[in-house]
């Protein structure tokens, strides 16, 4: 497998070398080379030079040689090749606090409960701690009612219970402090086992903890709002449901996201779903585990259609259409018209029909190269 890929890379290199060519004439002189290196050429001149560079091995060799010479001069001569603006963006000293702030912010946003959503609890404590909760629970089930989150337990939960129920609702300030601790604890839990990427942590903490992303102690429990009133009797139920949670995890995971667009394929085990921020997720085991992909960063997909396990079409706002034929690599498909797409139906890799927000339908039979208005 690897050597096949190497062959392909080599073949690609050869082809590109030939196609790009080696013009070797009308090469700019040292003024342009130096100015480009220093980034003192303006946009047009720079683009013109890059156009030449792409096809001229000689000039690229010269640029490489100049780059080698660009070492700092202790006598205070020419400074080294200035790094561009962007690399400092990745400086961890800056990025980490920003990422942390973003995570907290994202949790706050995600915690706005939707009325119909059943509350979910993430218990980060040991299962046996659950039975102790009723003791510290207030008798009337009011006040600090983050269930089952007594102040004594440092491992808190994120409570997504709906608003508008006066008695189980927590008073604003304790809950907000706990929310922050929740989010950071949950973020830590997610981040420690998931790859340390900001996006993973963001997605995990925003109420969408993946079963595989959590530590072994983290469970997901679904509770009805009314059960919070029955705080004392909740403990055996909590224990049972904590232990039973693992078993029902897969079902729970899919259920909790039933409002999210699920794209089914002919294989019942293989599903796609649209997540936020341009991400999509795909499962191959019926929803027990999901793998995330990023077809187009920041896209807002609204619909999808998967005619096979590996072919999936996505459509969304802002003229967004994307297609994968191998369940891995995505390509943007130029839209028929600039529009927000709200639906898509595809029968295979070449045939699909999209619907715009204003009800027009366009169809393609060549994978999106040509579109026809459907009358």
């Amino acid at each position: 497998m690897a050597s096949r890929d190497q062959e392909k890379e080599k073949a690609a290199a050869n082809l590109l070398r030939q196609s790009l060519g080696d013009s070797g004439d009308d090469c700019p002189g040292p003024d342009t080379l130096a100015a480009y290196f220093e980034r003192s050429l303006d946009g047009d001149e720079s683009a013109r030079y890059e156009r030449h560079l792409a096809r001229c091995t000689r000039c690229r060799e010269q640029l490489a040689a100049l780059d080698r010479a660009g070492t700092p001069d202790p006598a205070g001569g020419a400074p080294p090749h200035q790094p561009s603006f962007w690399p400092w963006l990745w400086d961890w000293r800056w990025l980490l606090p920003v990422a942390a702030a973003l995570i907290v912010g994202a949790v706050w946003v995600a915690r706005w409960p939707t009325p119909k959503r059943p509350p979910t609890l993430v218990v980060l404590s040991q299962p046996q701690q659950a039975p102790t909760t009723p003791e510290s629970m207030p008798e009337n089930g009011s006040a600090s009612g983050e269930v089952p989150a007594p102040k004594s337990s440092p491992n808190l939960t994120s409570d997504l219970s709906p608003r508008g129920k006066p008695s189980p609702r927590a008073t604003p300030s304790p809950s907000s402090k706990q929310a922050e601790t929740d989010s950071l604890a949950a973020a830590d839990a997610a981040a420690s086992s998931a790859p340390a990427s900001k996006n993973d942590a963001l997605r995990a903490v925003g109420g969408r903890l993946e079963p595989k992303a959590t530590t072994s102690n983290a469970e997901t429990i679904s509770r009805e709002p009314s059960s919070m009133l029955k705080s004392q009797t909740a403990s055996p139920a909590a224990r049972v449901s904590v232990q039973g949670a693992k078993a029902s995890l897969a079902l729970e995971a899919v259920d909790r996201r039933s409002t999210r667009e699920i794209i089914s394929t002919p294989d019942p085990k293989v599903l796609w779903r649209i997540a936020e921020g341009g991400f999509v997720e795909r499962t191959q085991d019926g929803g027990a585990s999901w793998q995330a992909q990023l077809p187009v960063a920041g896209a807002q997909f609204t619909a999808g259609s998967a005619p096979s396990k590996t072919v999936c079409w996505l459509a969304g706002r802002g003229s967004m259409i994307a297609l994968t034929t191998n369940a891995k690599d995505w390509n943007r498909i130029p839209p028929p018209v600039p529009a927000d797409f709200v639906a898509i139906e595809a029968s295979d890799v070449s045939n699909a029909t999209v619907t715009t927000a204003d009800g027009r339908k366009f169809t393609t039979s060549d994978g999106g190269v040509h579109w026809k208005l459907v009358l």
Partner: protein, 228 residues
């Protein structure tokens, strides 16, 4: 003014390696301080400095260009040294054996590859110049992501991401060109890509050239160029 002479040597060493540095720097120094005469007037290389960049950068650029031109001239005209020549001989015989072991060049295959090449060229033309340059750095000059990032002023991760995007765009455009303009079927497209992956004479010629170019100082990129 002479205090920058050591700096010139330092730059020359970085560019051309220890062995060639002195000659490179000295010849430039001479041209700068007008030790040559033209039309009865002392001419200095400084006359060609137009202030588009810092003087020190310009001087290094002159060194870089002179060095590379010298290298390329040497590549074209000089016969290979013995051990490289022997290696080349080995590769040639191996190549010949390999070529004859395979079927003789199939005209069909040649046609497929020519069409693919044309589609590729067209797809390259449609790219943004910067994306094209990034591809050239990676595939032709064999640079690492870090080096490309430095040359383009991008973060390494950005280089990787953009290379991937460009690759995908290229693949799509080539396939579209082949299917739409040439009316190739899926099978034909796949077949042509198979042909590309097989060894064929062009590839071996490139390998010979790149071996030749390894005579250069260690820092020199292994840039195999098309026939000059």
């Amino acid at each position: 003014m002479t205090q920058f002479r050591p700096e010139l040597y330092r730059a020359a060493r970085a560019i051309a390696g220890e062995v060639n540095a002195r000659e490179l720097a000295d010849s430039l120094y001479a041209d700068l301080y007008g030790l040559s005469e033209s039309q009865g007037r002392r001419k200095s290389l400084f006359d060609y400095f137009h202030g588009q960049s810092k003087l020190s950068t310009w001087l290094r650029a002159v060194l870089a260009q002179r060095h590379v031109d010298e290298i390329r001239r040497a590549r074209r005209t000089q016969p290979l040294e013995d051990d490289a020549g022997a290696e080349r001989q080995e590769i040639s015989t191996a190549a010949a054996a390999h070529a004859s072991a395979k079927a003789p060049i199939d005209p069909e295959r040649a046609r497929y590859l020519a069409v693919l090449q044309a589609a590729l060229t067209a797809a390259l033309d449609s790219l943004d110049p910067r994306d094209r340059l990034r591809l050239a750095y990676y595939y032709v000059d064999d640079r690492t992501l870090a080096e490309i990032g430095r040359l383009l002023g991008e973060h390494e991760a950005t280089v990787s991401r953009k290379l991937e995007r460009t690759r995908q765009a290229m693949r799509r455009r080539v396939e579209v060109a082949l299917r739409e303009e040439k009316k190739w079927t899926e099978a034909q497209v796949r077949l042509s890509l198979e042909y590309v992956c097989d060894e064929w004479p062009f590839d071996l010629t490139e390998r010979v050239r790149s071996t030749h170019s390894r005579l250069q100082p260690a820092a020199e990129p292994d840039a195999a160029s098309a026939p000059d």
